[in-house]
Amino acid sequence: MRQVSDMFEPLSRPAEMIHQSALLVLLITAGIFVVVTAMLVYVVWKFRHRGAEDKLQEPPQIYGSSHIELAWTVIPILITFVLILVTSRTIGEVQNAPMPKNAIQVKLIGHQWWWEVRYPEEGIVTANEIHVPVSSRAVERRLPTAILLESADVIHSFWVPQLTGKTDLIPNRTNKTWIEPFATGTFFGSCAAFCGLQHANMLLRVILHEPEDYQRWLAKMKASAKAPASPLAEQGRKDFFANSCVNCHQIDGTIAKGGFGPNLTKLMTRQTLGAGVAPLNQKNLSEWLRDPQKLKVGCLMPDMKLQASQIDSITAYLMTLE
């Protein structure tokens, strides 16, 4: 899977706005760079000191020239003025964009070191992956997603370069951002503000669906859990509820109501484990249960010292949560 998140390949309306102004700024700065470097190279080459006899005589002593100095004061002022207009316009466009009434509402809560993703209108809670529908470039069929950003502990920062720039998740404060993607697929982002030991492994994926597929995904997330099919999974369910898993994790419709760790109700709908530290599959899941500290040093889930049989059974149970 191509996982490159190049900010110069924007696929969402705010990212495109940023991209446009960025291109203009790059062009202007590249122009300045070429001109000034050319001046510098010319001067260094043309006026290099030649030969020993050259040393005897000093060049004409010039103290300044108000005309020339005025010229190279006015030109930067004009360029700066253009840049000010560019940036003011884009800031307003992105920050004050009106959201249509049908915009999807998502609440993203940063934790050390994972993302809690809530859909308040749908009553869905998941983690580390945001599912949203694609929008349309036609204004009347716009379907943007408004994202509220909060933090449970320290400062984190939401950044999916191809969808939009960063906005921080700050405790005691609600920030807003929005995306309006135009292409389906999986997009990669990460926490951009240093948030402690495992800052590097606080990865985020945004999965973009066609609107119909998004509805199907919603329906799947809302469907009630199936009973565990195999005896091993049934044993795992008992083991899960007999251990302290329930203190930190929530599984909707059960007594597991912990809010400290990720919600596990639809665990197996996710692509990764531990906020992107490993792909989510049976092997990694049982590895995680054996000792989360092996896969993600310092993560806040302790080694529960489960027995081998418990690890197998709980893994089997968790695999049924989809």
């Binding site: 998140s5 040393k55 000093e58 060049p59 010039i62 920050q95 921080d168 240093f194």
Partner: protein, 564 residues
């Protein structure tokens, strides 16, 4: 030399020193501890800055080793976080600050024709306070476990955003070492800055009006004023953080209703002027070196002074451009984008004036000049990436990415460090009496320049590709692998370059020829005394009539004072 300032045949008797009868090492140690001579203190500042530079440079090497390939296990995450925190903190407070203060200490009194700083003992106090703040910071590796047996060196990043520094998230004493070390260093910086201001204002020799002061002195006057304005907020928030951690204050404790953003305002209202506090001394050195090796006076002296004052003034109103992502209103973002872009105007004027100084001159490519040309080119890049970061909307993408890392290394290495090298080579003959070796210096310049660009240029690109800074590892396939590998390879060149520099410093001192009073045929007053200068600097206090007193002496037929 045709001068009446120095009589070369006159020999002052060697003054008696404390402990002269003891062994050489003991005597040097004693001299260092007891000295209040601005020149010895200046050299001690620079030497200790260079030692901290090597130590925290080696920490950066460890960082680059870890990031050379994806999924590397060379450095564990906790150690990595300490490395970049200590690297950043040390490079700013224990390398940049002392080296620039070292230059100021050594040169300001000489350039204005004074015998010492205004407050020599406060000068020594400032140095020792700084030195112990550095020792305190590094002692955290041993001392920080404290009673809690948790934590080691600080690991919260050099700007230490709350609430990560609160007791809930930073157990043990590592953050306290960081806080106290910066508080202590701040006291030293304040003392030195007050001293620089008083010296410049009160101790100029006869005829040295403000308008005739060397640009170097002007810029350090501006820097010292900025330190006095910018440092108190830093000290204040360190005290507030300590109150939070130990006295139950709740300034930054978000769980008790404190504000995490408040810390950022306090920190950056110091932190952004700090960037200019570090780069203006670079401008100061370039403004001395470029004219001398172009054989022309600085182009547009009054404008250069005005531009420096303007930079200082504007820089006090731009701090929140470090905070474009915290969710300010569009009005706030626009204000700080505009104020930041305004800095480009005086900075542009300065670059043009340096090029204007070289225009029509006869450029001599001595070592200081080479490094200043490198500085001009690299600082141009740094300035332009700075413009990109000032565009708030672009900054939403670039902030906290590797692009920022590349940007400020172009400022601080490509800009400041290159002028520090230039300054060290330029005044080496004055301070130590020997010429620096040109060939070794040329190798230093070439190899280090290659290493610098190979290391830091690719980081612009990995930033564009979405790589956040301060990650200890990354997975393969994000498009970052190649750029990180190139970046790590560049470090090898940088190490070799620095080795050439260190070897040059030692080699030249032992084997190079004597420099004489004025080896570069320069024009400011420090070249009018012996190399190294005597403790009293000048036998008779000189009197000046223009910005280039030594030019006037050497060219009585065409003196500057006729034209100024």
């Amino acid at each position: 030399m045709n001068t009446d300032i120095v009589d070369e045949n006159f020999q002052m008797p060697e003054p008696e020193r404390i402990g002269q009868e003891r062994g050489a090492l003991t005597r040097i140690a004693q001299e260092m501890v007891f000295t209040v001579d601005h020149k010895i203190l200046g050299l001690m500042y620079i030497a200790s800055g260079l030692i901290f530079f090597v130590v925290s440079g080696l920490m950066a090497v460890a960082i680059r080793v870890q990031l050379a390939v994806p999924g590397n296990h060379a450095v564990p995450p906790d150690v990595f976080n300490r490395l970049f925190t200590m690297h950043g903190t040390a490079m700013v407070f224990l390398v940049g600050m002392p080296i620039i203060f070292g230059f100021a200490n050594y040169l300001v009194p000489l350039m204005i024709g004074a015998r010492d700083m205004a407050f020599p003992r406060m000068n020594a106090f400032g140095f020792w306070v700084f030195f112990f703040s550095g020792v305190l910071l590094y002692f955290s590796y041993l001392g920080a476990p404290g009673l809690y047996a948790a934590g080691s060196a600080p690991d919260v990043g050099w700007f230490a955003y709350s609430p990560l520094t609160g007791r809930a998230f930073s157990r043990g004493h590592s953050t306290d070492y960081w806080t106290l070390s910066l508080l202590l260093g701040g006291i030293g910086s304040m003392a030195t800055s007050i001293n620089i201001i008083v010296t410049t204002v009160c101790m100029r020799c006869k005829g040295m009006t403000l308008g005739r002061m060397p640009l170097f002195v002007w810029l350090f006057l501006v820097v010292a004023l900025m330190v006095i304005i910018a440092l108190p907020p830093l000290s204040a928030c360190q005290i507030m953080l300590t109150l939070d951690r130990y006295c139950g204050a709740r300034f930054f404790d978000t769980q008790a209703g404190g504000s995490a953003v408040l810390w950022q305002h306090f920190f950056w209202i110091f932190g952004h002027p700090e960037v200019y506090i570090l780069i203006l001394p670079g401008f100061a050195i370039a403004s001395e070196v470029i004219p001398v090796f172009s054989r022309k006076p600085i182009f547009g002296y009054p404008v250069m002074v005005a531009a420096s004052v303007m930079i200082a003034f504007i820089s006090l109103g731009v701090w929140a451009h470090h905070m474009f992502t915290v969710g300010m209103s569009s009005l706030g973002n626009t204000f700080f984008a505009i104020s930041t872009l305004l800095v480009a105007i005086p900075t542009g004027i300065k670059i043009f004036n340096w090029i204007g100084t070289m225009y029509g001159g006869k450029l001599r490519f001595e070592l200081p000049m080479l490094f200043c040309i490198g500085f001009l080119f690299q600082f141009l890049i740094a300035g332009l990436t700075g413009v990109m970061l000032a565009i708030a909307s672009f900054d939403w993408q670039l902030n906290d990415s590797y692009f920022v890392v590349a940007h400020f290394h172009y400022v601080l290495i490509g800009g400041l460090l290159y002028t520090i090298f230039a300054g060290i080579y330029y005044w080496y003959p004055k301070a130590l009496g020997k010429m620096p070796n040109w060939k070794l210096g040329l190798w230093h310049f070439i190899v280090f320049t290659i290493g610098f660009h190979v290391t830091f240029f690719p980081q612009h690109i990995s930033g564009f590709l979405g790589m956040p800074r301060r990650i200890y590892t990354y997975e393969a396939g994000r498009g970052w692998d190649l750029w990180n590998l190139i970046s790590s390879i560049g470090v090898i060149f940088q190490i070799v370059g620095i080795l050439f520099f260190v070897v040059n410093l030692i080699y030249s001192y032992i084997w190079e020829k004597d420099a004489g009073d004025d080896p570069w045929d320069a024009w400011s007053l420090e070249w009018a005394t012996t190399s190294p200068p005597p403790p009293y600097n000048f036998e008779t206090i000189p009197e000046v009539r223009s910005r280039r007193p030594l030019w006037d002496l050497k060219h009585p037929e065409d003196p500057d004072w006729k034209f100024e």
